[in-house]
Symmetry: C2
Subunit: 415 residues, 2 copies
């Protein structure tokens, strides 16, 4: 079972937007044992689309296409479908009723000609009814290939993948099994990890593949097994993971493919009935944003302060102005006071504090660009560490956020 | 001038990570007049890489490849380069010295065999020296195509694109001109906009193309002109933009391709010497994070509070507990009090407040999932609006953040 995922849209080819749809689609396909062999982004140009359709025809079992289904003139996927499959557009009554309901019922404005045209679909296509928006998806079987066209708006695409595409594919195809297991590690580089697990890696069975996925401050190790027997695949992967623990157990913080550090930290806090708050200077709210991106965070997260200016640190957070004067605002002493006062103000078990200089200019501190102090206040103590995360600004903020979660996780694990 | 951008890595094909590199590369190429015709993501499998190299050979002027240059066993790009170009790996002394400096000097640990192998490069390649990491880039001219291989780590890739690849291409090729202009609009759907500007769109000159880029709450309109004379292209685009203003001037908030609403708002605040603070419940710190992602935000942004629990709203933000009891925490009254108190606490000219229920469960409020109240406190007044942003959680948060910036921008414009 081989799939291709195609994104149509000039906005991707000129780098104006990042394609996040292909990732979602391939992950959903992967879960039901369909491997994405190739992803392609092409322009919203009829010739280019037709040329690409011909290339993938009969070389792939499934071709999922997103984009170009909107109501405006640059949206040409539907017409190109008709050209390629020798078909004509016809009005779908249930789609039309749905479009009317959205425009007239929800947006409370009269329906326009462009809105009405959203209900036109190729006559041979199976219509994928889009509850989340006005553009329906379409599915067309042709030769040995199933072509599926979905709207490019992520929420609509996701809805159609989950509720229409995947159920259809599960019904239609017999599929092999793909089992993944991902280990999250924090605080060691990939080449050092590779040396520590070299023998283990060399002895992996041939149907299991290992990948290193490094990002600032963390490395994910992904094991993938492919085969006909799901139980054997799962068991084999489990056995290999167990062998890894004596080798790098100290840096493994989580196991699930889907898991991010904010999910792992959140679960640990919830399980132990502990609470958290955060005061952020250089990370500007990103720690709070990640914590609250997890549904259910209100159980353990009380809130936070973005203490961007010195005055806020002094007035709201009650950091002693003498501490700032004596040690400067980017210092271990200020970070510690921030964490301790945050913990008191929010009445939580733990508090994170960050203060640093993310650059590109020095701002109101003498600290070198890239310098960040992170403090963690725990029920009994306060820990602070100094880092230099280099440049640019975005990297400094990302690494500081990651490091803060890593330090916090270590402390929670002890409690 | 045609380019292809290729990403190598199974982690992309199974949807574990999102490819952001291709977007950065194509944007950089676009700026110097090189159009990306296709983006491809393929597996880190030698056969697949070789097959792809053969497909792009002589069909593209430039092929930029990222990924597969790390120190571990799944990194096979260098060896595949040698296979394809009939070459061998040799040690590059300056790269080796640089690797030693990073590992021994910065990380303070002994260099390993895997680190040393990072300094191996194909003998015929031009080495692109990577100041940001240990893996060098490589450039190989072959037939009518320039193949460029860059590391997949975004910071390293970006450094090499800006400092090595682009200067090389500018030197080597004569290129046509591509001029873009993007208009940001807030608060109206794409089909309504399309109808309002239909005549204008129909009469665009043939060398100018229009694209609609809708996302929650906003639509960007991108004009692209291609040709040999940059001055004529720029002038023609300007003329078309001027014609647009009488049609949709009321919803246009900005003009630059690079500009985000947080940049536009920041510039407006800085120009008028006004200050801002934010108190966030359902948006959990995302507004503050976006504001502070802009370098120089400390001039106008004082700070914010993430008031996630009711207790924080009462204790720290001094929202009257009676107001919460009477109207519920997700209400216009609470939003207004939050905004006014935030403005007072941070002593700013403006304050944003959000309170809502992002779902997926109802939490501690009776409000329907998707309900969000956004309040803007201005120097003289406070405005509040109620929205229902539907589902899922991520969409509710995104739309609330966008809407808050839109409301704020309108108020700043009046001052």
């Amino acid at each position: 079972m081989k799939a291709a995922v195609i994104t149509i849209g000039d906005e991707i080819l000129i780098g104006q937007i990042i394609d996040t749809n292909s990732s979602y689609i391939s992950k959903a396909l992967d879960k039901i044992g369909i491997a994405t062999y190739e992803m392609l982004s092409i322009s919203d140009d009829k010739t280019h689309i037709l040329e690409t359709f011909r290339k993938v025809q009969n070389n792939f079992d499934v071709v999922v296409i997103t984009g170009g289904l909107g109501p405006t003139k640059d949206d040409i996927t539907k017409k190109t479908f008709c050209d390629y499959f020798d078909d004509v557009l016809v009005q779908d009554e249930s789609v039309l009723a749905h479009v009317k309901e959205i425009i007239e019922g929800f947006y409370k404005r009269p329906i326009t000609q462009l809105n009405i045209e959203q209900a036109l679909v190729p006559s041979k296509a199976k219509v994928l009814f889009n509850k989340m928006g006005t553009a329906p998806g379409m599915l067309m079987e042709h030769g040995n290939t199933v072509f599926v066209s979905l709207p490019g708006v992520p929420y609509e695409m996701k809805y159609l993948v989950d509720n229409e595409l995947i159920p259809y594919l599960v019904e239609k195809f017999e599929r092999p099994y793909i089992v993944h297991k991902t280990l999250m590690t924090y605080g060691r580089g990939e080449s050092l990890i590779a040396e520590q697990i070299e023998d283990w890696e060399t002895n992996l069975p041939s149907f299991i593949k290992l990948a290193y996925l490094p990002s600032p401050g963390k490395v994910r190790l992904r094991l993938t097994a492919r085969g006909e027997n799901e139980a054997i695949l799962s068991e084999s992967i489990l056995k290999e993971v167990e062998k890894l623990e004596p080798l790098i157990g100290d840096i493994i913080v989580g196991y699930d493919e889907e898991e991010t550090i904010e999910v792992i930290v959140g679960r640990a806090l919830a399980k132990k009935e502990l609470t958290l708050s955060a005061v952020e200077s250089c990370t500007g709210g990103k720690i709070a944003e990640l914590i609250t991106s997890v549904s259910g965070a209100s159980v353990y997260f009380q809130g936070g302060i973005v203490a961007y200016s010195n005055q806020v640190k002094i007035d709201l957070l009650k950091v002693n102005s003498e501490t700032i004067k004596k040690f400067s605002v980017v210092s271990a002493e200020v970070a510690k006071e921030m964490a301790l006062n945050c913990k008191t103000i929010f009445n939580t078990d733990f508090a994170i504090a960050t203060t640093g200089n993310a650059g590109p200019t020095k701002g109101n501190s003498e600290a070198e660009i890239g310098t960040v102090f992170i403090a963690i206040a725990t029920p009994g103590e306060v820990f602070v560490e100094e880092f230099n995360f280099g440049q640019p600004r975005e990297k400094v903020i990302d690494r500081a956020v990651n490091k803060a979660f890593e330090m916090l996780y270590k402390e929670i694990s002890k409690n």
